[in-house]
């Protein structure tokens, strides 16, 4: 195998994180705003009231600006699997590539084809076909999320495949197991519904600004009414799917759960940390407390993790060093078996090269015994299997706290809108304005948790990130990292400036522009 250059690995990580985080600024808004635009247009088609058309076209304009930069930042992600993670691409392309191809065939073409009708077809196609096209863009956007999240979920919980020692790669055995993996379903529903929440916050935020400025009052009220109902329903669903996602983490990625809860010593009837400050000096298996302070709810973590308040939840120490009482195999033990598997695989390849069938068969038999631990054979020390506890902990808790705040906000906006006094609630409207930025914080922390919590694995338990990179000089990746940083930052600034300008112009301004 090629020697690992950790500087290269970290720059490759940084580049992927940079491009993914930029992309995720725009995508959740696209997922939700496309549905909201379709809802607004449905009301227009149903009522025939011109003001709903004006409203629809206003939000559609903002959607279009966001969509373009989302597309721009997205293309690089697909190809980065090849450019920066070529070992990964070869080892799992058999499985991982399929959802990406399906996404391209079915989802991207829906978006690309009907996007043109949605924006330029108002006078070229019938009213109903236009509405159909808008719904198709919304459907296509969310369908694309399904496939990419199926691919991501497979990295978190590899299923439906087997390792082929002949080709030294993982190969798909069951497409349906990959598609309908419980992790894939919870990821898809959680990510898309959180996108609906973010888009609802976007509509509430801009509408709040209009109300604070006493502009476009009617548009703002109508928009808030639809967005707060949609946002409230989506928030409830986010909570439900979030619980499901945490349950799946507990079952499939217990190290991630232990990290985001700061749980070092496993517990029966484990407590859930509601708030806390992590002790960053804490190392696995030392005597320090994990927290400087923490507010906990007794037994709740066991209930959430195993649906049983009395159950045992393994901590980081149990998972790293093992816990024979609870039958938890530690990373240390898995590493020994993994190292044997790596050696057996090398012997097998050597025997194949030398055309020594007997030796190859013997090596293969030995390899088969330990093959499920192959990935652990590449770890340097057991503690390497622990992700950053502080990043995972704070990401998770910020996300959950914000996720709890949003439904309360939607409820307040809905209540005052129904009451007809929303424009007078000068104390509430700034919260509405601020909420969009908080929504982005929740989105980003959610993905940081998902990806940092999976470290050091590219594919959970099978392939460490450090073995997945392309054999490039780190200088090449540094150059492209800064290239993307500069371009994406520039485009983001341009996008924000255009958005702010469009919002300042407002719906009537847009209409005047169109008629002039």
């Amino acid at each position: 195998m090629i020697d690992v250059d950790l500087s290269l690995v970290n720059w490759s990580r940084a580049q992927f994180a940079l491009t993914a985080m930029y992309h995720w600024i725009f995508v959740p808004l696209t997922l939700g705003l496309s549905v909201l635009c379709a809802m607004f247009e449905s009301i227009y088609v149903r009522t025939g009231e011109e003001k709903w058309k004006v409203l629809t076209r206003f939000w559609m304009t903002l959607f279009g600006i966001n969509f373009a930069i989302g597309v721009a930042t997205g293309i690089i992600l697909e190809f980065e699997f090849g450019t920066n993670w070529s070992n990964y691409s070869w080892m799992v392309g058999d499985i991982f590539g399929a959802p990406l191809a399906v996404e391209g065939i079915f989802a991207f073409f829906l978006e690309a084809t009907f996007f043109a009708v949605m924006f330029f077809g108002w006078e070229r196609v019938s009213k109903k076909f236009h509405l159909f096209s808008t719904w198709m863009v919304a459907f296509g956007s969310n369908l694309s999320a399904l496939w990419i999240l199926v691919a991501n979920a497979w990295m978190q919980y590899p299923t439906g495949m087997a390792f082929n020692p002949e080709t030294a790669r993982f190969e798909m055995e069951n497409f349906w197991a990959v598609l309908f993996s419980p992790v894939a379903m919870s990821k898809f529903t959680h990510a898309t519904s959180s996108g609906f929440v973010l888009a609802s916050l976007f509509v509430v935020a801009i509408s709040s600004w209009y109300l604070l400025k006493n502009r476009h009052i009617e548009l703002a009220k109508k928009s808030i009414m639809v967005a707060s109902v949609f946002g409230l329903l989506a928030s409830a669903y986010v909570g439900f799917t979030g619980d499901e996602a945490a349950f799946e983490d507990a079952q499939k990625q217990p190290m991630k759960l232990a990290a985001f809860e700061g749980l070092y010593k496993g517990q029966q009837s484990a407590d859930l940390v509601v708030l806390g400050m992590i002790n960053t000096e804490k190392e696995p298996d030392d005597d320090q407390s994990p927290f400087h302070y923490a507010i906990k709810i007794p037994g709740l973590l066991s209930l959430l993790a195993n649906r049983d308040p009395d159950s045992f939840v393994p901590g980081i120490d149990d998972l790293v060093y093992g816990n024979s009482t609870q039958k938890v195999m530690g990373v240390a033990e898995k590493m020994k078996l993994g190292q044997q598997a790596v050696a057996n695989l090398a012997s097998f390849k050597q025997a194949r090269q030398e055309k020594d069938d007997a030796a190859a068969s013997a090596a293969l038999t030995q390899f088969s015994t330990n093959k499920e631990f192959l990935g652990y054979g590449y770890l340097s020390k057991p503690e390497e299997a622990v992700p950053s506890v502080s990043i995972a902990f704070y990401s998770f808790h910020i996300m959950v706290i914000l996720g709890t705040f949003f439904p309360a906000l939607f409820l307040a906006f809905l209540y005052f809108t129904i009451k007809g006094t929303i424009a007078k609630q000068r104390w509430l409207l700034p919260f509405g304005l601020l909420s969009f930025f908080l929504g982005h914080v929740a989105q980003q922390t959610g993905w940081i948790l998902a990806e940092v919590g999976r470290q050091p694995w590219a594919i959970q338990g099978l392939l460490p990130v450090k073995m997945a990179t392309t054999n490039l000089g780190a200088g090449n990746v540094q150059a492209t990292f800064f290239m993307f940083l500069a371009v994406f930052t520039l485009l983001l600034l341009a996008e924000i400036k255009i958005m702010v300008k469009q919002i300042a112009i407002g719906p009537e301004g847009l209409q005047n522009d169109l008629k002039s």
């Binding site: 070992n87 399929a98 485009l491």
Partner: protein, 377 residues
């Protein structure tokens, strides 16, 4: 039925499907060609707006086809995806970079407060149409001229040239491929605009576009002729029944003679492009884009088939012949190819609704009045 197909057949089917997507992408580069025509063809704001808005309604199809091409190669030929994208790092990064710039340019160009000004976004479009297409051509050229890589026992790639893929652009054959594609895209772009725009009261605009078709065709011709002669004369990479790769004289000529259908595709494709050009330039036709588009698809298919079929490594290595990739050694497992073939049954449905929506949206030509009064870029 699909489940009964043998592994080799599935590998061939997937090379055909990837070739179809790649060839459709070459046709859809009329958007990129149109991008490069903007600064030469538009003599005033109205003409400028017509070109941008006409192309702007199609750019996403080209973009999506490129993404699908990548996705299909990833799923069907992951060793190619890993070797080429990971190895020829810079050529692919620069291609992607030009497409990133393009993706925002249509939307941002005329929006108030766009930070960089309309001219900058138009320059981004020009970069995409020239550098982007040129490098794609250079990358396709390496299917015949080979690349600088070797693979170890675990199929991990080592690139042996410090330019990491950019060196492809310094080969005369690859460069000619790139320049041919640039000029061909410009021919297609001009034909598409002639088909899509209402030139009423647009003094001289239509004539300029017809002239552009002719001039760019003449510019493409020497590169095309050089490519064809080189292709027929050059040594090519060949793989025998045991998987050993060697150099064979006139390999690609042999491929064309061994596969008459591919030779027909190449000839018919070239004839269609020439007919489309003559029809557009000398008979004032407006439907040349369809003929030339079909011709481009045929030529693209012929190139991909010549590169990949008849015991030919489609991604050969100059540095280590035995590391060369064939559709046999680079493909996914039989199960994945079979599952993906079921998925591919949906492609005709996708093509059908794309064609339907295209016909609905282009049922009447784009006018300056529509852009001024309706939503536009």
């Amino acid at each position: 039925m699909i489940s009964n197909l043998d592994y080799g057949t599935l590998q061939h089917i997937w090379w055909i499907l990837c070739s179809v997507v790649g060839s459709l992408f070459l046709f859809l580069t009329f958007v990129q060609g149109g991008n490069t025509l903007l600064w030469q063809m538009a003599k005033n704001d109205a003409e400028n707006a017509l070109i941008i808005n006409s192309l702007g309604r199609k750019w996403e199809l080209t973009f999506t086809t490129l993404v699908l091409f990548g996705g299909a190669l990833f799923a069907a030929f992951p060793k190619f995806y890993a070797t080429s994208f990971g190895g020829a790092y810079w050529v692919w990064m620069l291609i992607l970079f030009t497409f990133i710039l393009q993706a925002v340019s249509f939307e941002f160009r005329k929006k108030p407060g766009n930070l960089l000004g309309a001219k900058t976004y138009e320059f981004f479009l020009l970069i995409n149409g020239t550098v982007g297409v040129l490098l794609i051509g250079a990358a396709v050229g390496t299917f015949f001229t080979g690349s600088n890589f070797s693979l170890n026992a675990y199929n991990q790639v080592t690139w042996t040239h410090p330019l990491r893929g950019l060196e492809a652009a310094f080969s005369l054959f690859n460069l000619s491929m790139g320049l041919f594609l640039v000029f061909n895209a410009r021919v297609l772009g001009a034909m598409y605009l002639l088909n899509n725009i209402d030139f009423t009261a647009m003094n001289g605009f239509e004539a300029r576009l017809r002239k552009a078709v002719w001039i760019n065709f003449l510019c493409a011709l020497p590169f095309l002729l050089y490519l064809l002669v080189s292709l027929l004369m050059m040594q090519g990479f060949s793989v025998d029944a045991t998987g050993v790769v060697s150099m064979v004289a006139n390999k690609y000529l042999q491929n064309l003679l061994a596969m008459p259908m591919v030779l027909c595709l190449l000839l018919v494709g070239l004839i269609l492009v020439v007919l489309a050009v003559f029809g557009t330039v000398f008979k004032a036709g407006t439907k040349g884009i369809w003929l030339a588009g079909l011709g481009t698809v045929f030529v693209g298919l012929a190139l991909f088939f010549t590169a990949g079929f008849n015991h030919t490594p489609f991604y050969p290595s100059k540095a280590d012949l035995q590391s060369s990739l064939t559709i046999i050694n680079a493909s996914s497992s039989r199960y994945t190819l079979m599952a993906m073939t079921y998925v591919a049954l949906g492609i005709p449905f996708v093509l059908a609704y794309v064609a339907y929506v295209w016909s609905q949206m282009d049922s009447r030509k784009l006018t300056a009045h529509e852009i001024a009064t309706e939503e536009g870029y």
